[in-house]
Symmetry: C2
Subunit: 190 residues, 2 copies
DNA sequence: CGTCTATTTGAATGTACTCAAAAGCGGTGG
DNA sequence: CCACCGCTTTTGAGTACATTCAAATAGACG
């Protein structure tokens, strides 16, 4: 069940056959094996990536060297170091495949040229960014007002597919708790 | 020490006298007394607001009726229900003055017309949004990886001015802790 | 001065974390 | 096919941190 990027975009905007092929022409394919890195700290980030198949995580290391997962991505999702991508500064993140993965890479420069030719695409990417902003806000609020158990339940509801595919300790990390705690929560719920 | 919106914008982009007066022409002034509401849940949100003088908070009520403060704003900051403003859906927030305040109101439609006449302004507001995105992310990470005490210290460092002006229980609420806890943390630090 | 609201303090409770060890699971090589 | 190894998950006991509830104190404002 690989994801189709044209379907994905067509959910928001209508595209002619010509526009579809124009868009396809600026994409490149990227394949990654499990544990391979797509982005490393220090790099500049010229691309964002659409996940056709597989699963990835974006994380960073804090001053004490602890990992913190910022996002997961599976089929039909986008991933990158968006902060670095938007601000054109060096990345602070690791983006790593947790399964063998197939991605489509979208170059910023080519994309901006496409905006000029077909402004409709700008609309799509603006909507995508707004959506990301709104999700981020939900995650903040959920982390401030809720217990570990509630956050885990929210997570299961929002991302059921990820909950099935990703390991306990990755999910715990994403939710800001210890694997032991998540294990106890799950036991409790069963 | 009221804030000057033209200075504020000039920190990011260069403006001619003509552009400055064009921009001024689409602003309106709004005054609020302490405890007055600028935005209520259910309203559509056509404006964003620049704080010339005073202090406000944006909060919402969860299902249990508990308040959660999403942001503060003092001189030189922007406030609104940005989610409602961007998505054109009814607001879920209260935006309330915590001091007598003077604001400049910026209407979305007028702003979009201005973008067409002087695209430079679009650049400013895109930068502003990107900045907001980045700050949101920092706040998430800080809430996931840090203790109450560390989050409070971060807050003092990031927003020293707000820490001075805003009451204990508002800050505690913003940081997702109880006023009693913040009180103990402060005692501890002294 | 009195009232209302905010802050501080105390004691008991609860939630999540730490550290340590055991059990489970998957892949590899003999 | 089985034994072993490394990694993940589970379980237990003790500890730390934050919350709850209640009461006392301090401050702001009419």
């Amino acid at each position: 069940m690989p994801a189709d990027i044209i379907d994905h975009i067509s959910r928001e905007i209508d595209l002619s056959e010509l526009e579809k092929s124009e868009f396809r022409s600026i994409l490149s394919e990227v394949s990654l094996h499990k544990k391979e890195l797509l982005i490393k700290p220090g790099q500049t980030v010229q691309n964002e990536y659409f996940v056709v198949e597989g699963c990835l995580r974006a994380y960073y290391l804090d001053e004490q060297g602890n990992k913190h997962i910022i996002q997961f991505a599976i089929e039909d999702w986008w991933i990158s170091d968006f902060e670095a991508f938007f601000t054109n500064q060096p990345s602070k993140l690791y983006v790593e495949a947790i399964e063998d993965s197939k991605l489509l890479s979208l170059n910023r420069t080519l994309l901006e040229e496409l905006y000029n030719r077909i402004p409709k695409f700008e609309r799509f990417f603006r909507l995508k960014t707004t959506g990301a902003f709104v999700s981020l806000r939900k995650r903040i609020l959920s982390s401030l007002e809720k217990s570990n158990k509630e956050r885990y339940l929210d997570f299961c509801e929002t991302y059921p597919e990820i909950e099935k595919r990703v390991q306990n300790y990755h999910i715990a990390n994403y939710l800001g708790m210890k694997p032991e705690s998540l294990s106890r929560i799950r036991k409790d719920l069963a």
